[in-house]
Subunit: 135 residues, 2 copies
Amino acid sequence: MNSYDILISHDIKPSVQRLAILEYLYAYPTHPTADEIYNALSPSIPTLSKTTVYNTLKLFTLNKVAQAITIDEHTEHFDGDTSVHAHFLCKKCGKIYDATIKGETIPGEDKFKDEGHIINEAYLYYKGICKDCQK
Amino acid sequence: MNSYDILISHDIKPSVQRLAILEYLYAYPTHPTADEIYNALSPSIPTLSKTTVYNTLKLFTLNKVAQAITIDEHTEHFDGDTSVHAHFLCKKCGKIYDATIKGETIPGEDKFKDEGHIINEAYLYYKGICKDCQK
DNA sequence: GTGCTTGCAAATCGTTTGCAATAGC
DNA sequence: GCTATTGCAAACGATTTGCAAGCAC
């Protein structure tokens, strides 16, 4: 399914800006920030404003086209993969790595459900020093 | 062990402000923000400044006396319990609930370790609607 | 032409920084 | 007295808001 149809299927009206941002998220699954996306797309869409990038990412997040990663305390990162998966942040280089969760249960989930809470989102964050930064 | 000894054992020089903040974290394990702590302690310590609260919480976090909870995208919350445990944020009332993890493995951890990354911190966040807000 | 989208500029707000005053051994 | 801590005011920076202009059906 292409970006255009993905937006349609999530009830989002496609536009040049929205398509470009979504395609960027798929092309560069490095969990970019709003700023990084803006800087990357700005040359090809000179009239693009940062406000639009923020608006679009918020829209994507609300409509489950992307998810916001708040592993970094200073900036929000975005991920075009909306599945529940673990993220590892290297505190030295700032890079974020992924790990899929294949059918594993996440600790605490059952306890919260048993208590009567409704869970809509789950996030798993690890922090440390990545392989490359240990050299 | 009292607050004074806890600071000593973590190589932090006790002071009126530091003791008050640590005791607040223990007395009110509701994951307060720097602002909430400042507002709560300000009446009893009129000269207290918000800078000191921020400085102290950062010091506590670095020395593992407290942990920073970044589940809320707008503000940092703090927890006097430094063990790895799950947090649930109610998107309606903003309350944060705890769940302990008793010996359970956290998905993704092994994969990151296998890849050669060194994990120092782990966070588990859930978001949804809490029991009270469903009524 | 109506309603949604865009984008500039200004505002917001949690947090950090510079630096002088203060406190504690 | 020397060093670490405190706290005010100003700076900072990511994100949001107000609003006017533009676009699409």
